[in-house]
C-alpha cells in the first residue's frame, strides 16, 4: 500500500486542469433537447399515428401525455441534480407529482373506456414496429445519459440510474403513444406502465454495473 502523503504527491503531480460541469439544469435541458430531436426524427421517419388529431382532444389521453412528458422532464432534471454530491437526495421526489398525474390518467383511461382486447387488437406487424420505436427512442437516450452522468458511479449509482431510467421510460412511453394507435387497454398499460417498469427495473439491476464500467477511473496517473 502506498503511503497517503506519497499518494497526495503523485495526485498533485499528475493533475491536469479540468473543465467544470455546467449547471445540472442546463445539462438536463441539453439531454431533453436530444430527446426531443430523437422523437421528432422518429416522427418524420415513422409518421405519427393517424388518429392523433382526434385523440389529442380526449382530455384523459391529453392529460396522460402531459403527465408522461412532465415525468420525463422532471426525472431527467432530478437525475442530473442527484448525480452531484452536494445536492440533496430529496430531489428524487421531484418527478413524483408528474408520475402520479401520468399513472392516474392512465388508470382513468383504462377504467373510463375499457376497450376490450380482441384478437385484432394487436397485430404482429404493429408489435414489431412498437418494439422498433421503443429501442430507437430509448437506446440513444440511455447511452447519452449514461455518458453524461458517468461521474456519479462512485456516489449514488442506483438512485441516479433509476431516475434516468424513469425519464427514458416516460419519453419512450410518450413516443409509443404518439406513433402507435394502441387504444386497447392492454396496449395502453403495456406502452406506459410496462415500459416504465422495464426501464426502471433494468436501470436498478444493471445501472450500477454499467456506471462502474464507464466511470472515470480513479488513478494516480492520468
Amino acid at each position: 500500500m502506498i503511503a497517503t502523503p506519497d499518494l497526495i504527491e503523485s495526485l498533485a503531480a499528475n493533475m491536469k486542469p479540468v473543465r467544470r460541469l455546467r449547471p445540472p439544469v442546463t445539462r438536463a435541458a441539453c439531454w431533453l433537447l436530444l430527446a426531443a430531436l430523437v422523437v421528432v426524427l422518429l416522427a418524420v421517419s415513422q409518421g405519427v399515428r393517424p388518429d392523433l388529431a382526434t385523440r389529442i382532444h380526449d382530455p384523459s389521453f391529453a392529460a396522460g401525455m402531459v403527465g408522461a412528458i412532465l415525468t420525463g422532464v422532471l426525472a431527467a432534471v432530478a437525475a442530473f441534480l442527484v448525480s452531484l454530491p452536494d445536492r440533496s437526495r430529496l430531489w428524487l421526489l421531484l418527478p413524483a407529482p408528474a408520475v402520479v398525474l401520468w399513472l392516474t390518467y392512465i388508470g382513468y383511461q383504462c377504467l373510463g373506456d375499457w376497450v376490450s382486447f380482441g384478437p385484432e387488437g394487436v397485430s404482429i406487424g404493429e408489435a414489431t414496429r412498437c418494439l422498433a420505436t421503443l429501442v430507437l427512442t430509448s437506446l440513444p437516450l440511455s447511452l447519452a445519459m449514461l455518458v453524461m452522468l458517468r461521474y456519479a458511479a462512485p456516489l449514488r449509482p442506483t438512485a441516479v440510474t433509476c431516475m434516468g431510467s424513469l425519464s427514458v421510460a416516460a419519453i419512450t412511453a410518450t413516443a409509443l403513444s404518439l406513433f402507435h394507435s394502441g387504444d386497447a387497454t392492454l396496449m395502453i398499460i403495456m406502452f406506459n406502465i410496462g415500459t416504465a417498469m422495464m426501464f426502471v427495473g433494468l436501470g436498478g439491476l444493471f445501472g450500477r454495473r454499467m456506471m462502474q464500467w464507464i466511470a472515470p477511473r480513479p488513478s494516480i496517473r492520468e
Binding site: L11, A12, V18, R20, D86, Y151, L155
Partner: protein, 210 residues
C-alpha cells in the same frame, strides 16, 4: 443502509480528560478556504491542489475513524476518498460550499466499503493455520502407530517371520547377532524379515485405510 451523517459512534476510548477521541473539526471553518483551493485546483494550480489534499486528509481520517476500527482500514478509506475526489473533481461548483460535497463523497465511499467488507465477511473466512490442519482428516488423528495393533499383527505372523521381526526390528540386532542368537542363517533371516514386513504392511495397511 441509511446514511448516518454525523452520528457519533456509540463507544469510544476516552481518556480521563475526556478528549482522547479525535475531535472532528467542522468543515465549515475551513470551508471557504477549501472551496477557493479547489477552484484553483480545477484551473490547474498544482500547489493549491496539494495543499487542499493535505488539509482535508486529517479531516477525512477523523471521519473514517468513526466508521472503521482497523487503522489500516481507515487509511485505505482515506486514500479511496482522495482518489474519488481526484476522479470527479470537475463536479465541484465553486459557488457552492465545499464541505457537503466532500462529506457526501466520503460517506458514499464509507458505505460502499462497509458493504463490500460485509459481503466478503459473509462469504469468506480468513485462512488460519488451524483451518489447514483441521481440513486434512489425517492431521486430526494421532500419527503414532497403535502399539497393540502392531503387536497383534506380529503375533499373527508365521513363527519364523515373527522371530526375525522380533530380533532384527524390535530388538534392533544386526544380522550377525540375530543369526547367532536364533541359529537361523543370515539369508533365511533376510528372507523372513522381508516377508514379514510385506505381510505386516498388508495387514496394517488394509486396516488403516480410511
Amino acid at each position: 443502509m441509511t446514511e448516518r451523517n454525523g452520528r457519533p459512534p456509540q463507544l469510544r476510548l476516552v481518556g480521563s480528560e475526556g478528549d482522547a477521541a479525535p475531535a472532528v473539526p467542522g468543515p465549515t471553518i475551513r470551508d471557504t478556504d477549501w472551496a477557493i483551493l479547489m477552484a484553483h485546483a480545477q484551473d490547474g494550480d498544482r500547489s493549491a491542489y496539494q495543499r487542499l489534499l493535505r488539509e482535508i486528509t486529517p479531516y477525512l481520517r477523523s471521519l473514517a475513524a468513526r466508521r472503521h476500527r482497523d487503522p489500516s482500514d481507515v487509511e485505505d478509506a482515506v486514500q479511496d476518498i482522495l482518489l474519488t475526489v481526484h476522479a470527479i473533481r470537475h463536479t465541484f461548483d465553486p459557488t457552492r460550499p465545499f464541505g457537503p460535497w466532500l462529506v457526501t463523497i466520503a460517506n458514499r465511499r464509507f458505505i460502499d466499503r462497509l458493504r463490500q467488507q460485509g459481503r466478503r465477511r459473509d462469504r469468506e473466512t480468513p485462512l488460519m493455520p488451524e483451518h489447514e490442519t483441521f481440513s486434512e482428516p489425517q492431521a486430526n488423528l494421532e500419527e503414532r502407530p497403535d502399539r497393540h495393533e502392531l503387536e497383534k499383527a506380529i503375533d499373527e505372523l508365521p513363527p519364523m517371520q515373527r522371530k526375525a521381526v522380533h530380533l532384527l526390528k524390535l530388538n534392533e540386532m544386526s544380522l550377525k547377532e540375530a543369526s547367532t542368537a536364533s541359529g537361523m542363517s543370515i539369508a533365511s533371516l533376510k528372507v523372513n524379515v522381508h516377508r514379514a514386513v510385506k505381510s505386516l504392511r498388508k495387514i496394517l495397511g488394509d486396516r488403516s485405510e480410511p
